[in-house]
Amino acid sequence: MAIHIVDRRLNPGSKSLENRQRFLRRAKALVQGAVKKSSQDRDIKDVLEGGEISIPLDGMDEPRFRREGGTRDMVLPGNKKFIEGDMLPRPSQGGGKGSGPGEGDSEDAFRFVLSRDEFVDLFLDDLELPDLAKRKLAEAESEGIQRAGYATSGSPANISISRTVSRAMARRVALRRPRPEAIAELEAEAETCDEARRAELLAEIETLKAKARRIPFIDPIDIRYRRFESVPKPVAQAVMFCLMDVSGSMSEHMKDLAKRFYMLLYVFLKRRYRHVEIVFIRHTDRAEEVDEDTFFHGPASGGTLVSSALQAMHDIVRSRFRPADWNIYAAQASDGDNMTSDSPVTGHLLTDMILPVCQFFAYLEVGEAANYTFDMPDSSLWTLYERLRAEGAPLSMRKVSERSEIFPVFHDLFQRRGKHERAAP
């Protein structure tokens, strides 16, 4: 009898991927809640590692008509000492059903594992790039060049040799252009043969040569040029500027808050852009571009001049990141101190130089934990930025003093908004 043995191991896996996606979509609200909750307990670095989450079963139930209670009869194996008519005490309610064939109600929470991508997607799902006036820059497309077949006309530099030669050969074959070898052969024969034959051969050679002249080796109609088309290419790279005040007044705690914010921003950008670069600029009364480690941990002291950092950013943008090619994001963290005399310069730099080329500029004012930040008068930088914002500069700003506030603030800044609504303070 026929038997088929089929090796299915090589079949594309994850046949149930779509079902899984449907499930996640359906449980989205629940899963999202669980993702947020679990991400609060983790380090930001690990936040995006995926992992196990649990959601309440309640929202994903599949109800059925189920019966419960009533008189129950059951037959069980393994009688040791019972005889007919014995009365057994009921197991206490807390102790479960004991030997009864319970309905098998599983735990009230439903645990499963999310992959890294799923986790990030859900984590950042309701976030979106801010709806700023310069938004079109975010979708800006630059022209790219792409091969698009062959053309009969074009610049000599674009001649496609192989295509041209092969067309020429096809034409020569089709028109029966005599091959030079054939002529040479006849000529060789004419050398050695008798008179009559030679005359005949010479005449033939002449015809062949005439034909070969009439049918050129390469004709202009053979020539083909490589054709190029310019296609719009979306800008798929972004640069993220991290500006931070590292003067003495910034504590480790404040730096930690800033770091968390930068990380979230990085992850968020990473999801949108193929290539994301980070530039760290720290400043006291002077600004310098540093590597990440120095940025967060390097010692520094001095006064505070915010304008120096903005100037540094502006210079770097001009020298390395053409706004036409790069999506530029900047996040500034500071405790809000700035020299009063610096304000006009800062304001000028920001509104005239930085903001026009940025997709997004966020200012994060970090404070000490459990400090009465919000009761204190606004800092000088906050006051300045507030004024700029009121004048219409597309700035986003928030105050943060607790680690747990970082995500909500971030979330808040990038929340998906209605079309014309602007970021509210």
């Binding site: 299915r8 079902n19 209670g69």
Partner: protein
């Protein structure tokens, strides 16, 4: 005789030619010695992930897409990764050809066991058991699933995923009540009908007696009662197949929604025999693999070592923990089924007086396979246990019957044990545990208020005081009301028609109703 050259395989490794040899060797024994009659086999080797895939879509190779399968997959994957759950060695599908999935991790011995178990044991049962013959179409199921998958996808394209999902959710909630429990009434053809009418008339003429006319009859039925009866007849009520009733009579469903209900109903129906024959099906397959493996070993086709490996797996499979064992979770269908099959073999070949008294038809007939094949063909779990659970096996399993009446304050009563007075009662109660009539709640559509608010009326006949879980019932009824699109009521009545509880739910607006 035990030449190593005769061995089907050496050690644990296998390849595809080995599988072929194993299959052929098993087939020879299955046909000649056991006389099995099977569908053609198709053996598919799959990975653990694919096995999980198969789990989440009730084992079928192709299935329509639905979130609940994704949910099950996520859940099973999590517990598999944690090591809470092992995977089955195989899955077998009741189709023609009969598809068996083999896990790639299995050793050669395990593959032999699995081929004997699934490709011959289950396969024979699927092909020959009357329930499967009556209710399932092995040739058509794969095509039907293909159609269902395509149809659901097409509906999603046309009517939107949400609308389809709502309908499917509702249909799934009612799935266990979308089954015809009795073979449908055959459509009489007109000629036969005419003939019957003629016979009836002849009969009436032949027994005509004018005296009957003078016998007083009861009070004439009022027109109201008559119209109720007529309506119920027209609607085919009472109807316990709720999905069928909705498909045929729900007033505002779109044609595609009816087709979706039909798909869910057909699939539920396809699985209906499996739920009624767990013990027999596994018992058959286990008995068959045990016979085949033993025979292969006797012939020297598998080595002693491999046979020991098999015995260990086999023993694990047929392990039945006692009721007070922490591992106990009800009867193991493999254990009970296998024990009963072996017991039948014993009764047929070497019966004692007790067996002769209890099973006079089969005791000592000597034709084990003949008896077993007829048992496999003609019984389901309930009738199988009622008929063939022997006192000796009851003693061996030390079965006892507990009666738990909540009204009884003293506790749970031991109603019967494995003794002379108890055998029949224990056996009857155990059989009842496998009776679908008791397992599923008895819920029927009883009437529709056509003249009034079109309310659909259902009744749950409460058996032994077990009422429906309120939360779940409300949810299911909500789905039902959404499909019916008018109010739905459910009353729970006891056998004396006393109303214990009443639910009324109104439909939400469905996306598709627009």
């Amino acid at each position: 005789m035990t030449e190593t050259a005769d061995r089907l395989f050496q050690g644990a490794d296998w390849d595809f030619p080995t599988l072929q040899r194993i299959h052929d060797a098993c087939e020879k024994i299955a046909r000649s010695e056991l006389g099995l009659d099977v569908y053609p086999n198709q053996i598919e080797v799959i990975t653990a992930e694919q096995m999980l895939d198969a789990y989440s879509s009730v084992g079928m190779p192709l299935f329509y897409k639905h979130w609940s399968f994704g949910k099950h997959f996520a859940f099973q994957e999590a517990s598999y990764r944690k090591g809470l759950m092992g995977l089955a060695y195989e899955i077998v599908i009741n189709s023609s050809p009969c598809i068996s999935y083999l896990m790639e991790e299995n050793t050669a011995t395990m593959q032999t066991l699995v081929i004997a178990h699934a490709a011959f044991g289950h396969n024979h049962f699927f092909k020959n058991n009357y329930l499967f013959k009556q209710w399932t179409d092995a040739d058509g199921i794969l095509d039907y699933l293909e159609f269902a998958k395509g149809y659901v996808a097409q509906c999603e394209e046309r009517h939107g995923r949400q609308a389809v999902e709502q309908t499917m959710d509702a249909a799934h909630a009612l799935m266990s009540h979308g089954i015809d429990r009795y073979p449908g009434k055959k459509n009489l053809d007109l000629r036969a009908e005419e003939k019957r009418a003629g016979q009836r008339r002849l009969h009436e003429e032949s027994v005509f007696n004018d005296l009957w006319r003078t016998v007083p009859t009861g009070p004439a039925k009022t027109s109201a009662v008559l119209s109720v009866e007529r309506r119920r007849t027209l609607l085919g009520l009472p109807q316990e197949n709720i999905l069928y009733f909705l498909e045929k009579s729900a007033p505002r469903l779109q044609p595609w929604q009816r087709e979706l209900l039909r798909i869910v109903r057909h699939i539920a129906q396809y699985f209906y025999p499996q739920s009624q024959t767990k013990v027999m099906n596994e018992g058959t397959a286990t008995y068959v693999h045990y016979r085949i493996m033993t025979h292969l070993h006797e012939q020297g086709q598998i080595s002693d070592g491999n046979f020991l490996e098999f015995l260990q797996s086999h023993t694990n499979v047929v392990f039945q923990p006692d009721f007070d064992d922490p591992r106990f979770s009800g009867f193991n269908p493999y254990a009970l089924g296998f024990a009963m099959m072996q017991d039948i073999e014993r009764i047929v070949t070497s019966p004692d007086d007790e067996d002769r008294e209890w099973f006079p038809e089969i005791a000592g007939t000597g034709d084990t396979m003949g008896v077993l094949r007829s048992v496999w063909a003609n019984y389901r779990d309930e009738s199988f246990i009622t008929q063939f659970l022997s006192p000796r096996l009851m003693r061996r399993l030390r079965l006892f019957h507990l009666h738990d009446d909540p009204a009884e304050t003293a506790g749970i009563r031991v109603d019967a044990i494995h003794d002379e007075r108890g055998y029949r009662r224990v056996r009857r109660e155990l059989a009842r545990q496998y009776d679908v009539g008791y397992i599923d709640a008895n819920i029927e559509v009883v009437d529709v208020d056509l003249a009034g608010d079109r309310r659909l009326m259902l009744r749950h006949t409460v058996v032994k005081g077990a009422q429906l879980n309120e939360v779940d019932t409300r949810r299911v009824l909500q789905h039902l009301a959404d499909l019916w699109s008018y109010d739905v009521s459910l009353v729970e009545t006891d056998t004396a028609d006393k109303v214990l509880k009443e639910y009324v739910l109104s439909p939400r607006t469905m996306a598709a109703a627009a």
